[in-house]
Symmetry: D2
Subunit: 205 residues, 4 copies
């Protein structure tokens, strides 16, 4: 394969990119200055060296954005340490931040597909248990929020985590909660699906 | 205006129908048998006489679907009379039924726009108060659920109703609740809007 | 079935209307005045009596829009009688008129599916032959334009009509043409499908 | 700006990429192996050195895909040299190839916006003239096809090129043609815009 086709093939692996858009990326890069291409290439090559995975929440962060081994959120003493929000992936955190949440996070690394044996191999269950034990034994943890997708896999993941967290939660005296289900902002009853209405009814307040 | 154009103009008033589709309706009717057109015309002409608005819930129903002055739901003794679900419009009821709800309904007739004076003129607030007083004074009512849209107007309507219902609710001992807000079925945290996440956090359980 | 459900079922037969929108039509009609419903019903019931199919082009028109047995286009002496535009259905005529065409029309009544035996039973092939013979024998016809869809069925229909029209066209000295294929207004080469590009190349000028 | 944000900012400049997808690209790269990142970075950095712009058609190609100074199409003696297809950009060529065209290409480099002074500064008009003179003076050129977008800017560009090409075309005896306009494959008369119908009528055959 020639080098232009090879580059397009690598671009095609980026999430959401098809062969046509991959080719357009190459054309775009051909039309930019060598300086831009060099900067892009350097940032990609050094991405591993420039980034660090937070040892507390497993989020990736740029080394030059936070001094030590913790990301800027975990290192921030103003955050509410007593509430731990478990998310599936890094991108969820940005969105939750926009909602005004000011507690801590833990990145699970995905959801657990149905009938998965040894889910610990796929998502950070062990790491979550360890984190929770640490926080709770220091009397730091009041509540753990499971912020999983409102999908079949999200529900399955929540059940597995619930079961594993129950003994800890009872022994170490913290609450395990799930995000509320129901009508999302902007939706109307006439167009809501029956399951969402059932959840909205079940969670009425 | 000729009669074909006039018919198309009337079809254009149907919800969601533009001039092109209105014309297609006319073409479709021209291509059907006179028998179908006559049946359709008769059903439309007799719609008022064939229909009745339920005196309890204000839903429209076909006279031949229910014997008396009540719609089939209000007339059904197996329904749970202690829970009253206030909806905006008839179409909401079909959707709520699909979710498995088995209580009673009240059709408000719309939402209240911001800065509306005398909202009683636009939606059935007085009729709702009367219904609630009747039910509650017979000790029939345990809970009233406000099933309004998760929109600014829906929220505004809920606040107005809440305020008006509070004295009744305290005096007659029933609960006023709202549908749960949060992630709707199928949604993911990464793509949820911040307000929905804030609601899902507020309604975590 | 009760009368409201029956009306919704009839609305559901209108082109492009699903069960939910059909119900909304009923709700809309319930909310209008009896006078509007009566007018709509009368127009639908009298649609057959109020309309007439043009004996020349087979288009439907309102009796009160044209005096005699011809629609307003066929009755208009200012139209160019020497060019006959064959369309699939009435709705196509409105669109062709917007393009500035000022000749005559003939409504075929549809396209011919592949492997159709006796296509004369489904579309107005015999009527078209008769019309063409009449026009051409009076030396009225210079050109017949086949204005069929750019689809497989449209192409198949064109081929069948071409074959049947060839002897007439040669004997009576008129031209049979097809609409140009190629890039439609607003389209770009990068996003055009290969067949459209091939057609645009074949029809370059 | 930290290095992760800087990388996302550069990804955001890729055509069609917003801030959210740019972040997802970074997350994807963080999750791949260092080997993949290094290969991607190297291909981007070397893109300029690995690529060459064809001296005949101005298309970009990978050096390792064609030996000399010509791209694989211009270097291919089996291509029909007498037909020159002028396209706006490299990506158009791939699409035209799919349509079965087997002549030669020239990449103009864009379209000319209305009221552009000195259009030679923005697109390769001078280079096109030189190429055409060379080909035509060697009696190599029979036809030049202007394959521009069916948009206002495309039409404007075509007119400018037509005017500039006319003296050459007459003196050197080659034809200048434009792609056919009309119904694109799959389209129906009822939904075609009036301008497309007018073009399809004008280009009937």
């Amino acid at each position: 394969m020639d080098s232009i086709s090879r580059l397009a093939a690598l671009f095609e692996k980026l999430p959401g990119i098809g062969p046509r858009q991959a080719r357009r990326f190459v054309q775009y890069l051909l039309s930019t200055s060598p300086g831009v291409r060099t900067e892009l290439a350097d940032l990609i090559k050094r991405l591993g060296a420039d980034s660090r995975q937070c040892v507390k929440c497993y989020r990736w962060y740029a080394k030059n954005s936070s001094a030590g081994e913790l990301c800027s959120i975990c290192a921030n003493p103003a955050r509410e340490a007593a509430i731990l929000f478990v998310v599936e992936k890094d991108a969820d955190i940005e969105n939750v931040e926009r909602s005004g949440f000011r507690g801590m996070y833990f990145v699970l690394g995905g959801t657990i597909a149905l009938a998965t044996e040894e889910p610990e191999k796929f998502v950070r269950i062990r790491e979550l248990m360890r984190r929770v034990e640490e926080d709770a034994s220091q009397l730091l943890l009041n509540e753990l929020i499971l912020g999983l997708s409102a999908t079949t896999e999200g529900d399955h993941t929540r059940e597995i985590l619930m079961e594993k967290l129950r003994p800890l939660s009872e022994g170490l005296n913290f609450r395990v909660s799930s995000l509320g289900r129901g009508l999302s902002t902007g939706s109307e009853l006439e167009y809501a699906d029956p399951d969402t209405i059932a959840q909205a009814l079940g969670n009425r307040h």
